[in-house]
């Protein structure tokens, strides 16, 4: 499918393969400015990585490619999702960082586009795309993890304004966010998923306290966030009051597919880095470890083709089905196994600082991978969903 670039820029018709070529050319000039040097920084610090990501989001916006498959009226190009795949693949190959405003792009924007009011779309979408306003997501709570529908953070109407009290946890990007896309209870305490509403809450206010959590990989990307009679924005409800659960579930399933695209391309790049190391090391790598690497190579390719098929499904207007839940599990297991194998093969090189420039710090990579089977719905919850909703097995009733 050929598409036309939006009006503000020189209108040119382009097709997937010519887009790939344009991207390649664009990266040549854009990437040094994003990296802050002629080559990607070797194993950047978290702060440097964040800064690179922000520059990448802005550069993509300036180029007109920040939201390829979004509707035109919200800054997108109305392009086929195939273009998103090409962007993800080329970005990974070129060594571009990940997107900065990824929660905003993956979850908030689809929620606003599909369920938000005209005023909300007008107000929030463009600043989000430009990474001028950063978003986080307030779903999980200390006592509502896998059992998300039991969340207790409360939203109350005071003089016609919604105010929030409660605690969220595992909030990615909270420390740098301007807004939180937050699920709160608006029904009675036992209303479960029927009494939950989606809100927009500003993060920079006295009622919000953010405490970064130090993770096992020494990153502090997650935080716990306390809301103490916090204010919401004007017109804060996305969708209907008490309609937040369905909205969140729909948005999450779309998010899973687009996110998996990035996850799959990143995994393939990391796998290639390990293959490169193994090629260098030659016969000194035990055959059993090479066999393990072959397994992961097969899984990585299977993942690539599966994600591609999922995107094709979305492209023809079919909702992402249960296959997405399966892919989340398959990806997290592959990612973790790759981290574990890399530590076996390259652990010593890691400690002695002898990694090649394109290899990640494999210990950090491995440790980070352990979270993958926990976040975005644990692998156990995914299997429950697959078994009961996908395969139609009877629900467990104690």
């Amino acid at each position: 499918m050929a598409i036309e670039l939006s009006a503000a820029r020189t209108p040119i018709v382009f097709e997937p393969e010519s887009f790939r070529q344009q991207l390649e050319e664009w990266f040549v000039t854009a990437l040094p400015a994003i990296w802050g040097g002629s080559a990607p920084p070797v194993r950047p610090t978290e702060a440097d990585d964040m800064e690179m990501r922000r520059r990448f989001d802005r550069a993509l916006y300036a180029a007109g490619w920040a939201a390829l498959s979004w509707p035109r009226e919200y800054g997108g190009l109305d392009a086929d999702v195939d273009f998103e795949r090409i962007l993800a693949e080329e970005s990974a190959v070129a060594g571009a960082p990940e997107r900065y405003n990824r929660v905003g792009l993956g979850i908030v924007a689809p929620a606003l586009i599909n369920h938000g009011s005209a005023a909300q779309k007008e107000r929030y979408l463009i600043p989000l795309l430009k990474a001028d306003e950063v978003w986080c997501q307030g779903f999980s709570e200390p006592n509502a993890g896998s059992d998300l529908a039991s969340l207790t953070t409360r939203a109350s109407l005071v003089d016609g304004c919604w105010r929030i009290t409660g605690q969220k946890v595992w909030t990615t990007l909270a420390t740098v966010s301007d807004f939180c896309f937050l699920l709160a209870r608006t029904g009675d305490p036992h209303s479960a998923h029927r009494g939950i509403t989606a809100f927009i809450v500003p993060m920079n206010q006295p009622g919000v306290t953010i405490r970064p959590i130090r993770q096992i990989n020494d990153s502090a990307e997650f935080s716990e966030v306390f809301f103490d009679d916090a204010e919401t924005v004007q017109d804060p409800v996305i969708g209907e009051v008490n309609g937040g659960w369905q909205l969140a579930m729909t948005v999450l399933s779309y998010e899973r597919s687009t996110n998996l695209l990035n996850r799959q391309t990143r995994l393939a790049v990391a796998l290639n880095a390990l293959r490169g190391a193994v090629a260098q090391l030659g016969d000194s790598v035990p055959a059993s470890l090479v066999d393990d690497l072959v397994e992961l190579w097969i899984r990585s390719e299977a993942l690539r083709h599966t994600v591609r098929e999922h995107l094709a499904e979305i492209g023809v207007g079919r909702a992402p089905g249960i296959g997405n839940n399966a892919t989340k599990v398959y990806w997290s297991e592959t990612y973790q196994a790759l981290g574990a194998l890399a530590v076996q093969i390259r652990g010593l090189a890691c400690e002695q600082g002898e990694l090649s420039d394109d290899e990640p710090d494999w210990y950090g990579y491995y440790l980070g991978s352990r979270a993958a089977s926990i976040y975005a719905g644990t692998d156990e919850v995914q299997r429950n969903i697959i078994a009961e909703r996908g395969l139609g097995l009877p629900r467990y009733a104690p």
């Binding site: 293959r275 090629a279 083709h305 098929e309 094709a312 399966a326 156990e380 995914q382 996908g390 097995l393």
Partner: protein, 358 residues
């Protein structure tokens, strides 16, 4: 053809065939046919031929449907679901091979199902063809043995041979009385395998086989067997799910227990991803790394099918260990497919070499 295009063309055709297979072929039909003298239901294969099963991607000038070759794999997936018996895979491969080498007269008969043929499914038969003396269009085998499925209940055999004089590889057609066949003992109740001694056997030379054609045939054997494994896994998963819904213990359906739910979810997860990989191997047949893709698809599909049958057996409990239930057929056929066109472990070994080359 891209996977997206394949998605668009395929549903109605595949549905039509699935319908025929569902109505006209079932696992019990397969087992029934296996008990007959021929070892399969010849009438069913004739019906499939009438529907175009053997000529899906064949040229319309010879009775083929001229559809994208990748669709052949979708049909094999359907056939895998009922563990379809008889030399249907050989027949499909014969059509593929005759199309590639220009064996036009035979091609029409093969596509039309008036000539049912068998051919070797193992790599060595195509990679290291047996020596022959060629004289006036006929080939006399010097010595050597091959493995042939249903050798005594087909109309002919197609075998690769090497002309001892000019060392070219040729395709030879033999009739089933051209050599002595010894039935092999097999655990499979569906598959009949014969050890064929071709010493002094005489056949008709059909055409020369270029090297890329025999390599392509071996790759196609692997792809189509992988498709069967995917289909068989779908079927075994579905029937196990039905069992888990009905079977009660502790006063509730055992399918409500998480241990079994997660076991089935794991089969599903593996199935979803292996199916995509196998489909990719059918679509990207001209890719530079085609050998790698085929090896990956075969390794993944073999593991899937064996693992799924083992899980199904466990999930059924004691009754799964009985001959009465079909689960064991899925396990035995998966084990058989795993050895062809060469043992899965050899594909894995090839990948071990390739993984070091970037």
């Amino acid at each position: 053809v891209t996977p997206t295009e394949l998605n668009q063309v395929e549903p109605e055709i595949v549905e039509a065939l699935a319908d025929v297979l569902a109505k006209g072929a079932s696992l019990s039909d397969t087992l029934q046919g296996a008990k007959s003298d021929a070892g399969y239901d010849r009438a069913l294969l004739s019906r499939l031929a009438e529907l175009g099963f053997f000529g899906v991607s064949g040229p319309p000038s010879h009775g083929g449907l001229g559809l994208p070759p990748a669709l052949v794999g979708e049909f094999c997936r359907e056939a895998g679901r009922v563990l379809l018996g008889g030399p249907w895979l050989e027949q499909l491969l014969a059509a593929h091979l005759l199309d590639a080498v220009g064996g036009w007269q035979l091609l029409t008969d093969v596509i039309g199902g008036t000539l049912l043929v068998s051919l070797p499914l193992d790599r060595s038969a195509w990679g290291r063809p047996l020596p022959v003396h060629v004289e006036r269009g006929h080939a006399r085998f010097v010595s050597g043995r091959i493995d042939l499925g249903f050798a005594t209940s087909v109309d002919g055999w197609l075998v690769a041979a090497q002309d001892v004089v000019n060392e070219t590889t040729i395709l030879v057609q033999l009739s089933p009385d051209a050599a002595t066949c010894r039935a092999r003992r097999s655990w499979s109740e569906i598959w009949r395998s014969f050890d064929v001694d071709l010493t002094d056997a005489v056949g008709v030379v059909i055409a020369e086989i270029p090297e890329d054609v025999s390599d392509g045939l071996v790759a196609q054997i692997a792809r189509l067997l992988a498709c069967c494994s995917v289909g068989a896994t779908e079927a075994v998963l579905e029937s196990t799910i039905e069992f888990l819904k009905l079977r009660e213990q502790f006063g509730r359906p055992i399918g409500s227990f998480q241990a079994l739910q997660h076991m089935m979810a794991n089969v599903f997860i593996d199935l979803e991803h292996t199916r995509s990989l196998v489909r990719a191997s059918l679509v990207w047949t001209a890719a530079v790394d085609v050998d790698v893709l085929v090896a990956m698809a075969k390794v993944a599909a073999d593991r899937l099918a064996v693992g799924a049958a083992e899980s199904a057996l466990q999930a059924h409990g004691g009754v799964g260990f009985t001959w009465e239930l079909p689960v064991h057929h899925f396990l035995k056929e998966a084990l058989r497919r795993r050895t062809l066109p060469q043992p899965s472990a050899l594909y894995r070994e090839e990948l071990s070499r390739s993984v070091r080359i970037l």
